[in-house]
Amino acid sequence: MSVFRFLSRGSAGRRWYAAVVSLCVACGGATGETPPAVDDLGDPLPPPGARSRIVSLNPATTEILFALGAGDRLVGRTRWDSWPPEVVAVPDLGDGIRPSVETVISARPDLVVLYAAGDNRDAAQALRAAGIAVMSLRIDLIEQFERATLLLGETIGATQRARTVVDSVRAKLDRVRDAASALGSRPTVFILSWETPLMTIGSGSFLSELVEIAGGRNVFGDLDGPSPQISFEEVLRRDPTFVLGRPETAGKLGASDRWRGLPAVRDGRVLVMDTLLVGRPGVRLGEAAVSLARLLHPGILP
């Protein structure tokens, strides 16, 4: 049954699984055995070692690897990786979903970090069959970012540095959380993720967590999953104080009759998020939280 839960996409399923795994770890600790460690596709983790040629097919893990000081050991990234600026020197190997296995192999990596999507199972299998260590990670929540950073640190021999990165991000987030909660007000926020179909961000995403840390309340925080689909009527019913959107969509809301039916849009309470900073669950989570806090509470954290 736990396998079935693992396969379900909801964060409730993941929390349940995390609870079961923690229980197993606790039991294992008690008897002195450790359960096999697995990555986010359920495959065994590669053993720690000195990895000198790393391919990272996920913008978030690329950021993490640079923060761990392994930027000069990267020999491949996706076309979407854009931070830090030094990343342009790393060869672009194409997409992170359904990557070209041949192209990845030709970069001669000793470690490939994949995004843990079902679509990538074939690639993970093919790369392992070619004798390359593969780690598939999925970073939807802040705790998963921390786990990914520590796992990557362990695998590439930078455990101490990973600990430092995690602690530093956590400290920044705590600072924002404390400053925001001192303010007393907690406006409701509707995060507009996609227009057709209408999708928002649910409690299964780091973005929802960031909004909460920044002193807001995700008006759809009761929904599971990273990006659930919703109806416009439901948005009207919940009457959020703010609408938070991407630059491309937020600007056009004021001109749309339908959207002007929402008080937040009519009264000009539409916030534009910096997607490059806020859209990725990477090492700049702290800065992302600051940016959101400043949008929600102007004047906070000058």
Binding site: L7, S8, R9, R98, E102, G118, D119, R121, A126, M199
Partner: protein, 323 residues
């Protein structure tokens, strides 16, 4: 043997070698030679033998199976526009695969099995509808049943995609466009076995196709029972098509176009048409897969799109020549 068929065989060999030699990563000819001799650098060996070779072999098998299936259905249904997915295979397979991805079962083997299962269910449904109408020997009833089951399947797919998480939709869409990207030797072996068994059976029964082509009454007069023979052909052709779908998703146009090419090369005798359809189908799919991998490397184009893009101009030129 016909000179043009000999040329087709040569073309098939050349394109297969090219498909192993070329890909998103360029390997120097001397490096390729070293792979053959056994003396190459391990990365090149892996690329050629573990990534490209199974893919090319699978492409050969998929093309042969689709060519065979298409020519058999065109003969048994007496309709030059019949194609392998006609009797519910594409709709059923897609429903199977989309259901699997919507539930998050992304494991490639599960997906294949789901697609295969869905295809078989749809084919049996189509045959059952035709039998219920009482006229299984009439191809038009079968075609109508195929259209109806296909339409229902499409509706089911749309509902599933609308309610599934966005990632599942992307995965399902990719699968429906056809791809040999996940080719491993195990898929190749499975399809190979199906192809050999079904192919042998079809070649053995090929003369019945010639009889059926004359119409049900003439066929009966020649001692071939239209119902029994047709049913055998529909089921075997659909089984072949379902097996290719399990291995490579939906790859359209091959089964439609290739029998026309075969008939243009060797006339109407089905034993020859089946063999040449298999050869031409293999060549088309291997060439399309090569184009799909290299045209916009390292991104990969969907195989089904490339076979259509390659096939359409070819088909038009064939039509012109037939005037």
């Amino acid at each position: 043997m016909n000179v043009r068929v000999a040329l087709l065989v040569v073309a098939l060999v050349v394109i297969s070698l090219a498909a192993v030699a070329f890909g998103p990563v360029s390997l120097a000819p001397v490096e390729l030679w070293r792979v053959v001799v056994g003396d190459a650098d391990p990365v090149s060996r892996t690329i050629v033998l573990d990534v490209r070779a199974p893919r090319v072999v699978l492409a050969l098998l998929v093309g042969a199976a689709l060519g065979l299936s298409g020519s058999v259905l065109q003969g048994a249904l007496r309709n030059a526009l019949a194609e392998p997915y006609l009797l519910g295979v594409s709709g059923g397979a897609a429903v199977g695969a989309v259901t699997a991805t919507a539930f998050g079962w992304n494991d490639p083997t599960v997906l294949s099995l789901a697609a295969f299962g869905g295809a078989l269910v749809a084919v049996f449904l189509v045959m059952a509808i035709a039998r219920a109408s009482g006229r299984t020997a009439d191809p038009r009833i079968l075609l109508m049943a195929g259209v109806v089951v296909g339409a229902f399947a499409n509706a089911a797919i749309m509902v599933l995609l609308a309610t599934a998480p966005p990632e599942a939709a992307r995965g399902a869409l990719w699968w429906m466009m056809g791809s040999l990207g996940s080719a491993q030797w195990t898929d190749t072996l499975r399809l190979g076995v199906v192809l050999v068994v079904a192919g042998a059976a079809l070649l053995h029964w090929a003369r019945d196709l010639d009889a059926l082509a004359l119409g049900p009454d003439a066929a009966a007069a020649l001692g071939v029972s239209p119902e029994v023979a047709s049913r055998r052909f529909y089921l075997t052709a659909s089984l072949l098509a379902a097996a290719t779908v399990a291995a490579a998703g939906l790859v359209g146009f091959v089964g439609l176009l290739v029998p026309h090419v075969a008939r243009a090369l060797v006339g109407a005798r089905h034993r020859a048409v089946l063999v040449v359809s298999a050869l031409a189908g293999s060549a088309l799919v291997v060439a399309s897969d090569l184009a799909a991998r290299t045209a916009r490397a390292p991104a990969e184009l969907p195989l089904g799109a490339v076979t259509a893009m390659v096939g359409v101009p070819f088909f038009l030129s064939l039509l012109r020549r037939m005037r």
